[in-house]
């Protein structure tokens, strides 16, 4: 199987050193559009769509493999093999920051630095740990995914309109970015929101930057603090940007934070 096709890998930029950008749940590689121009002269930019998202090959989806984030981490490693990437800078948003971290634990030589935007190793609160959600919250979310999927018409349209003989019908009607296969999206949501990778954080030896947004419902400050504390070689920047996607809502601040981290750690 061609992993570059599977993950719709795009390589741009003129630099030697590779910077891998991986999007979070609900999005695709388009979410980096405001960030990558700032780095493309210095770095080789590697963009990808996780299986099921964007223009990835959704036939490569496999329930068993992607039941844990390790399945996605293996995909990242395979992209590294295919492009012969070593000592890369991995920029992951949300769940992908954990996916990148797992990949870096498996093969540390492939990763020199990790930039984790809004990471959360575990979304559910449990004795002493604040994940931001109660078990009931996550169940409600997953329930709403299961029972109310029709409601999310943007995501649903390709299915309803997805007449195999007339694929163009589905395309015209939907929003053009971040299209996900709804079945896979549902599975990915389960994998993401039920994941607990807290124990893996201690094994990360790669230098890491944690970008924490203010007022992030998905990954609140407590979670950022926890991640920072667990990863030995990490620093954390609390951004002025609010929400969960500073790379979209505050690209300048995000670029500046990444850039200063890269410069500082290069010394």
């Amino acid at each position: 199987m061609d992993v570059l096709k599977r993950n719709n890998v795009t390589v741009i930029g003129t630099g030697e050193k590779a910077m891998i950008f991986a999007h979070g749940y609900g999005c695709d590689q388009n979410m980096w559009r405001f960030i990558t121009p700032a780095f493309k002269d210095e770095y080789k930019i590697v963009l990808l769509d996780l299986v099921g998202a964007g223009k990835s090959d959704s036939t490569a989806f496999n329930k068993v493999k992607y039941e844990s984030l390790n399945g996605y981490a293996d995909d990242i490693l395979e992209i590294c093999y295919a492009l012969d990437l070593w000592h890369t800078i991995f920029v992951g948003h949300s769940v992908s920051s954990m996916i990148g971290a797992l990949a870096a634990v498996k093969e540390p030589d492939r990763f020199e630095k990790l930039v984790m935007i809004g990471p959360s190793p575990c979304y559910i609160n449990s004795d002493g740990y604040v994940g931001g959600f109660s078990k009931e919250d996550i169940e409600e979310l997953l329930d709403s995914l299961d029972s109310n999927y029709l409601g999310w018409s943007a995501a649903m349209a390709p299915v309803i309109m997805g007449n195999p003989d007339k694929p163009e019908l589905g395309e015209e009607l939907t929003n053009s970015f971040c299209r996900t296969n709804p079945e896979i999206a549902k599975h990915f949501a389960h994998t993401t929101f039920l994941s607990d990778n807290r124990a893996d954080l201690k094994n990360i030896k790669t230098k890491a930057l944690i970008l924490q947004c203010s007022e992030d419902v998905i990954a609140p400050l407590e979670v950022g603090n926890f991640v920072h504390k667990q990863i030995e070689n990490s620093e954390m920047i609390v951004m002025e940007a609010t929400g969960h996607c500073p790379n979209l809502s505050a690209p300048e601040e995000t670029i500046a934070a990444i850039r200063s981290f890269l410069e500082r750690t290069n010394k």
């Binding site: 199987m1 496999n62 409600e140 979310l141 995914l145 018409s153 943007a154 970015f177 971040c178 998905i218």
Partner: protein, 666 residues
């Protein structure tokens, strides 16, 4: 002036002039303006009425997200906000707003982003449509959909029950057709019964397909998880489809990645069903060339293996525009296919659905007139190692490879002993070569059906020996199946193995079932296997024709058994028992001029005789073989040989018994 006049000004030609402001406030939809982070800037009265908040409670105080339940909040952050930022608008997003009382208001939201001069978003404008009624319809539709699916399931169950019921009388028809076929009939009747049997078989096949299909449709098929050896499964499968391939003179190629773990967890029935279907199809649609099965390990870690399965043929192929159709129910690539080849058009659909249970998918590549390749991947958990159990091979099956002419090339006597234990058990007619040079010589002299080749040997190794055999003049040397048998089961040997012309690989310590299946497969064993043509007698390597040689020695055997006296004792007891029966069998074969049987027993006894260096008995038996091969049928000579064999056998038996009593006090 009344209040209405502020709102509606009637123009002089009688048309009502609408107030934009009033429209904003009281339109039948909600209007929201928010900051890019979701904070309310301006909302209309309609929306306020719907959610029950006062204007001052929302403006600059709350964000859109605050009015959403938890699922909606996550959707807002992960889908809605990124999408809006990227494309500048979002259409028809379904949110449920929580009103002040906590009641949910199902709504459809369209949003556009207003950007400033610098291109950065300033604010978002949204319209909110109340879809409470539509939501009810939607739920009704969902319910109707579920009901329809339920009804379809009931129908499928009915179909499955009916098919099952049809099977019983069908089996009776087939059994009786079988019985009738075996009776004496006129030529015409025979033909009728043949057609009856053929049609009944086809009908049963069709019913089985329908049954499988409806079972899957009814969701009655689940995967079992059993410890299984994919290698064994593949070989027993190939063994069963091989008959049809032989009929069409098709070559069957197998390539199993050596990295494939010995045991995986999987459903043997389902995996077999998919592979059998693909292989039968490949054979069915190929008239010349080959059918190849390849198992390639994609990924392997300590828990899971990901295996790619390829079934490729050089058959008629499928037109590009029909490629996807072949997976549809009751659809074959075209109508003529059905006329020419028959079939239900269900096989691939069933395979596809079975693979779906594994979260996998069958894909196809094809070129018309050139051939087709089907591919699927399975991710399977690793299974537990189970020691090889020769009992696994059904007794009825064991005779299937009886009499196969096989050359075992192996320099290590212990390995010879182990392998030959099985070969003998299965009645295989085998010789042993102790190195590559010996192997090439033996191959030249005998018509072997199969060679088991050790790779590391003195003088000439297995690679070189195989290359040499392949370069011998004669087509049969190119075709002679050679299976490597080696302890160095390493993937990187693969290229060398292929380059040498070795077809397959069994790693040591080997699994008896695998050895059996591979022998069965490569020897194309069938009942009517003709007897190998007579060849001039050959000199045996170990043979020392000294008249005064001792009757036998146990030294070699003892050495081979690493000096284990107990094993040697057992071996001697076994040999005594065997030789008693050989005595009768050699006599019978000789009396009946039955070369086939004589040879068979000769090969059975040969190995032991060589190891015991029982030269005199060996000479006597060889003389008998030559006599039968010459076919002179001289009664006197026959009697001489018979008595010589008898005498030598008796001497050997006596010696063995003496050893038994003196050495182990029997």
């Amino acid at each position: 002036m009344g209040k209405e006049e502020d709102i509606f000004r009637v123009t002089y030609n009688g048309v009502i002039d609408e107030s934009a402001e009033d429209l904003y406030e009281n339109a039948p939809c909600g209007y929201l303006s928010t900051l890019p982070d979701g904070t309310f800037l301006k909302v209309n009265k309609t929306f306020l009425d719907w959610v029950g908040y006062k204007r001052e409670e929302l403006l600059h105080q709350k964000k859109i997200q605050d009015l959403l339940p938890i699922g909606g909040k996550l959707y807002y952050e992960t889908h809605y906000a990124p999408l809006l930022r990227m494309q500048g608008f979002v259409n028809e997003i379904n949110f449920a707003f929580k009103d002040k009382e906590g009641q949910q208001l199902p709504a459809l939201v369209n949003t556009v982003q207003v950007k400033g001069d610098d291109g950065n978003p300033l604010l978002n404008r949204s319209t909110v449509f109340n879809i409470t009624d539509r939501k009810k319809y939607e739920q009704e539709l969902l319910r109707a959909k579920k009901e329809a699916e339920e009804a379809a399931k009931v129908k499928a169950e009915f179909l499955s029950t009916v098919s099952h019921e049809i099977r019983t009388p069908m089996n009776a028809i087939i059994s009786i057709a079988n019985l009738l076929q075996e009776m004496d009939h006129t030529q015409e009747q025979k033909e009728y019964f043949r057609i009856l049997k053929l049609s009944a078989d086809n009908l049963l096949h069709l019913i089985n397909d329908i049954l499988d299909h409806s079972k899957i449709e009814a969701g009655k098929v689940t995967l079992s998880e059993k410890n299984l050896s994919l290698r064994e499964l593949v070989y027993s499968l190939l063994y069963s489809v091989n008959v049809k391939a032989e009929e069409k003179s098709l070559e069957i190629k197998v390539d199993i990645d050596e990295r494939l773990p010995a045991f995986v967890m999987g459903d043997p029935v389902k995996i077999s069903q998919v592979l059998t279907n693909l292989l039968s199809n490949a054979i069915k649609f190929t008239d010349k060339g080959h059918v190849a099965l390849r198992l390639q390990v994609q990924e392997l870690d300590e828990k899971v293996v990901s295996v790619d399965f390829y079934v490729q043929d050089t058959g008629i192929g499928i037109p590009q525009d029909r490629l996807e159709k072949v997976f549809e129910e009751f659809t074959q690539a075209n109508y003529e296919i059905n006329l020419k080849y028959g079939g239900t058009g269900l096989g691939l659909t069933i395979s596809q659905k079975l693979l779906a249970l594994y979260g996998s998918k069958l894909s196809v590549e094809s070129e018309e007139g050139k051939g087709t390749q089907f591919f699927f991947n399975l991710r399977l958990k690793l299974g537990k190692e189970v020691p090889s159990q020769p009992e696994e091979i059904a007794a009825s099956q064991e005779t299937a490879i009886k009499g196969v002419r096989l050359l075992l090339v192996e320099d290590n006597p212990v390995n010879v002993l182990v392998v030959s234990k099985y070969l003998r058990k299965w009645g295989i007619n085998f010789d042993v070569a102790v190195n590559g040079v010996d192997a090439v010589e033996k191959v030249k002299q005998e018509n072997y059906e199969l060679v088991l080749m050790d790779l590391q040997m003195p003088e000439m190794d297995g690679y070189q020996a195989t290359s040499t055999i392949r370069s011998l003049a004669g087509d049969k040397y190119k075709r002679l199946p050679v299976i490597a048998l080696s302890a160095s089961a390493r993937y990187d040997y693969k290229a060398r193995i292929e380059a040498a012309g070795i077809q397959d690989f069994i790693s040591k310590p080997f699994n008896a079932k695998e050895l059996f299946d591979k022998i069965a497969f490569y020897s194309h064993r069938s009942e009517q296997e003709p007897l190998a043509t007579a060849e001039p007698a050959k000199a045996t390597v170990h043979k020392i024709s000294t008249p005064g040689a001792p009757v036998l020695t146990l030294d070699t055997l003892l050495e081979m058994l690493d000096g284990n006296e107990k094993d040697l004792e057992e071996l001697v007891i076994m040999t005594i028992r065997n030789f008693k029966s050989y005595k009768i069998e050699f006599q019978d074969a000789l009396n009946a001029f039955d070369l086939k049987n004589y040879r068979f027993h000769h090969h059975k006894i040969k190995m032991t005789l060589e190891l015991m260096q029982a030269v005199r008995l060996q000479t006597a038996i060889e003389r008998g073989r030559k006599f039968l091969e010459d076919g002179t049928k001289n009664k006197q000579e026959q009697e001489e040989i018979r008595s010589a064999i008898n005498q030598e056998l008796e001497t050997v038996l006596l010696t063995l018994k003496e050893i038994l009593s003196s050495r182990w006090h029997h």
